[in-house]
Amino acid sequence: MVVNILVGLGVALFGFVLQTAMGGINRKIVARVQKRIGPKWYQEFIDIFKLFSKRSVSHGWIFDFGVIMALGGIIATAMFMPVTANIIAFEGYDNFFIFVYLLAVGMLGMAMSASGSGNPLASIGVMRALTTMLAYEVPFMIVVMTIIKLTGGTSSVSEIAAFQQIAGNNWFIIALPLGGIVAIISLMGMLGKKPFETYIAPAEIASGPMVEYGGKQLGMLFVMHEITVFIEVSLFIHLFLGGAATLGVYLLKYFLVYTALNLISSVYARFKIDQVVVFFYKWPLFMAVTQAIIAIYLGWVI
């Protein structure tokens, strides 16, 4: 058990380092798209370490406790995440629904802390974040349910990844093309990429939930954000891109997915929050239901 916990913590640490480096590399890439030079690839490490070295201002115990709860919740989630077919901390517990529930703990911690700051912009940001979550989760869950049905009822992320590796089976992004599109759109919503970046929206609500943070609390939120992105991108790789047999394949898939999302995000504007909800409940929901009907009732899977 101790070994499992240590491996799990190792996965969380790996996720943090990987995503922080990937974030820095992507800042460089997007900067080139925007005719800028961009910061150094390790700038995000510098920012986070600098924040941890600064003094912090507290807005009450809910504000402080929420940050710890958010970071703790996300680290706990990351510990269950398989990296490759061989690197799994808690084999048999890498269940999709565990990720959904544990991710919510982190998000609620963040929401609690931001609301505890007393800044109305933070409250608006939290409200928008939760609304966006409600919007993208419905179509995404329908697609994942379809996958669970097709894989014979397993919700284990590593088993779903292994299912796609069996000869004759395609990756689910190909097998379920409509579902794949829905998953990509939902992933953009999860990561807060434009056009779904409503809850940060610097020009509207001055970075929303983040508005009152500084010092160590902000550093912890940065760490939490990096690990959250690692979890969400990894979920996509395992559920839709056939997982990864080796670490090299995993890193390649991770880089391609994350960079593609950033490039798409760099040429889109931000929707308003009502437009986000209407959008997700229109096309992605329609495509997800259509895909479920096609795959489950008609049995048409590529």
């Binding site: 798209v33 925007q34 005719k35 800028r36 109305p120 912009l121 608006i124 434009k194 056009p195 970046e197 409503t198 929206a201 610097p202 020009a203 509207e204 609500i205 001055a206 760099s266 040429v267 889109y268 504007a269 931000r270 929707f271 308003k272 929050i273 009502d274 437009q275």
Partner: protein, 368 residues
């Protein structure tokens, strides 16, 4: 529902310039709003009374930070009218080149500014990169990047440096070749359109009520009311250009007018460079040093077409070395001060920065 008070500025990524909009919102809807000006108040109008006529050339560009040249032009025209000075022919064309380059620069900045409120930062960076090239040209011509102090009473400070025409042509050709790309990235982008089409309206009745001019007026009343056409100054009567208009003023059409005007400005600059005669570029205003000029007694209102509308200087001279009184009509005063208070309520808080951006509010000229 409980009202929430929000502050849009002065320290806010969505605010244009040093001003603050106080917003009272219920949910996402703005119920009451007003502008709190004065953050940049440095007493320009009073300051002008304490400076000599020529000294003021160094002060007035600050009235509108992003588009300073219109101040120089309006002030110089006013002094020339009072002193009855004939500006050399070449200077008229040099002034038009500067003014139109400035117009392209501010329209690029404004169009790129659309990227701030909507989060499309790629558009903002591209527009600013191109604006930077214009600033490079300004630096070569005037020695300054932002506040040029180039247009002075009697003409311009000095002639164009050798070879600058090539730089200008090269820039204009490049900008023109990427015009479609600019449209695709911004105004034709479906996610941008979702934010600006049929949104942030400016009805014709509001235009007349508030006295909105420029893009706002032309987009609502379908009439080419542009001072360069209806009351030509410099040599705008000698060049051909169209004035884009609409009869439906949503944010999308106002931005579209700016982009169309950008194309017209490219054409005007090319015509100016082609038609520009040789000769002197500055006429003498008075005897002796420029710091000791006196301007004959009288009063005058001179106005030019800025990127946001009619920009005017009301100048009174008592015959001395300093202006007796100067009043500035900032083009964004009606929509910036009155419009925010009366017509921003009802919009969503998401749209407040876009409201300020597409209505063309320049807060320093409200403070002046």
């Amino acid at each position: 529902m409980r009202q929430m008070k929000l502050f849009l500025g002065p320290q806010h990524p969505g605010m244009h310039g040093n001003a603050s909009v106080h917003i009272y919102a219920e949910g996402d809807i703005i119920k009451r709003s007003y502008l709190l000006p004065g953050m940049l108040h440095r007493g320009f109008e009073k300051g002008m009374e304490r400076h000599t006529w020529m000294n003021n050339i160094g002060l007035i560009p600050r009235v509108c930070v992003v588009e300073p040249d219109i101040n120089e032009m309006a002030f110089a025209m006013g002094v020339e009218m009072l002193a009855n000075i004939e500006v050399p022919e070449r200077a008229h064309y040099l002034r038009m080149v500067i003014l139109e380059l400035a117009r392209i620069s501010i329209h690029l900045m404004s169009y790129g500014g659309l990227g701030g409120p909507t989060g499309l930062y790629t558009l903002m960076y591209h527009a600013h990169a191109d604006r930077n090239r214009i600033l490079n040209i300004f630096e070569k011509i005037t020695g300054h990047r932002v506040y040029h102090m180039y247009i002075v009473p009697g003409g311009v400070r000095k002639d164009f440096p050798v070879g600058i025409e090539n730089d200008i042509h090269e820039f204009l050709n490049d900008l023109e070749s990427r015009y479609t790309e600019y449209r695709d990235l911004g105004i034709e982008n479906p996610t941008v359109l979702a934010r600006i089409k049929d949104n942030i309206m400016l009805p014709e009745s509001v235009v007349w009520e508030l006295g909105v001019t420029g893009v706002g007026m032309r987009s609502a009343v379908n009439k080419p009311y542009d001072l360069r056409k209806v009351k030509p100054y410099a040599r705008y009567s000698e060049v051909e250009f169209d004035v884009p208009v609409y009869d439906y003023s949503d944010a999308r059409n106002r931005v579209d007018i700016k982009l169309n005007e950008l194309v017209q400005s490219i054409g005007i600059i090319r015509q100016c460079l082609e038609k520009m005669p040789t000769g002197p570029v500055r006429a003498k205003v008075g005897n002796g040093q420029s710091m000791r000029w006196t301007v004959p007694k009288g009063q005058v209102y001179s106005c030019v077409e800025s990127s946001r509308g009619e920009f005017g200087y009301y100048i009174v001279s008592d015959g001395g070395t300093h202006p007796y009184r100067v009043g500035v009509r900032g083009a964004s005063y009606p929509q910036g001060l009155l419009g925010i208070e009366k017509y921003m309520p009802g919009t969503r808080i998401d749209d407040a920065p876009l409201w300020i951006d597409t209505m063309g509010v320049c807060s320093p000229e409200i403070d002046r």
